[in-house]
């Protein structure tokens, strides 16, 4: 019988789906005809699970096996697990920009006054640049400046989609200057991008990252 490796992403997807439905392990066990201890094992350890068990869990969780295996990711679920061979391929600029064009969460990194800084932000790709929001006069806004008029700080911005369960994924790195959007005209233009923020209207300052360098790589299971 086919075996799927859980733990990592698949285990976490099962746990998250269960929590989203507001089910305890006992309740899921009852639905799937499994003991709660086995559910915990599947969620937390890297253990092979049969397709039959995966199908029962998917049915009990009102979802599909593909979804539990990460079939909603960019890559189709691979056939090889940790023991399979992987291939690492560099991605061209166009392909990188296509991959990051839906927007979402990326991580911005720069060398600030007190050293390296890295944090996740919600972004949109708008007018050829990465756009995100921060708080005007806040610590990020302050630190993302060189202190010299007209000289912009260079940042790295990373987006990835990694499926740990199938050992596949891609990552894209954008490098370039962080441009603070200040003129009324420019603000009106970036506002069109509709960048979401975790802190609502408190994040009233837009920053654009101009993609001088765009590199990426994709890892596929062979």
């Amino acid at each position: 019988m086919t075996q799927h490796t859980t733990g990592g992403d698949t285990g976490r997807r099962i746990a998250r789906r269960r929590q989203d439905l507001g089910l305890t392990r006992e309740e899921l066990g009852e639905r799937a005809g499994m003991v709660p201890g086995y559910i915990q094992y599947v969620e937390e350890s890297t253990t092979p699970i049969t397709t039959g068990d995966l199908l029962r869990l998917a049915a009990a969780l009102d979802t599909t096996v593909d979804e539990l295996l990460g079939g909603d990711q960019e890559e189709p679920p691979g056939r090889s697990g940790p023991t399979g061979r992987q291939e690492l391929k560099p991605l061209g600029r166009e392909e990188c920009l296509r991959l990051i064009s839906p927007g979402g969460i990326g991580r911005i990194a720069w060398y600030g006054l007190s050293g390296p800084v890295v944090l996740p932000v919600n972004y949109k790709l708008h007018d050829g640049a990465i756009v995100f929001r921060t708080k005007r006069g806040g610590p990020i806004d302050e630190d993302l400046r060189t202190g010299i008029e007209g000289v912009e700080i260079k940042v790295g911005f990373e987006v990835d989609r990694i499926d740990e369960a199938n050992h596949e994924g891609w990552s894209v790195l954008v490098q370039g200057p962080a441009h603070h959007v200040t003129s009324e005209e420019e603000i009106a233009k970036v506002a069109e991008a509709g960048v979401e923020s975790w802190a609502g209207d408190r994040l009233d300052h837009y920053v654009r990252i101009i993609p001088h360098q765009v590199t990426g790589r994709r890892i596929t299971s062979l």
């Binding site: 061979r85 969460i105 390296p116």
Partner: protein, 137 residues
Amino acid sequence: MTIDSVGLRVLTRAECVDLLGSTPIGRIVFTDRALPAVQPVNFVLDGQNVVIRTGLGTKLAAAARNTVVAFEADEFDKEGRTGWSVTVIGHARAATDPAEIARLSRLPLTLWVPGGRDHYIVLPIEHISGRMIGDRD
């Protein structure tokens, strides 16, 4: 409970370490040709150290030697509305002592990026901070 300047809940050190231990992938920041570079990596928490395995001779291996490095891990829901993020800052070093390498090679560190993975980067947690995003807690 501490709230930061944009209204996100500040995580305690213990919460940060717990969350860091719950995920196998993080992103390391290093300098590449004078620009900040960010790369996703598999890692494992070994006590108060973040341990990353990479190939000898990679850009990352060359850059993360006796230098201050930032490392980040996060997890978000599908819509990206709730989640957490933890950042570690420390002096990264390459493991060179054979006994240490032997011990590190026994850590449950999943490897799936091709190439020789014979080089360990050890990043002690000198500074750790994190935020809870959204209303999950």
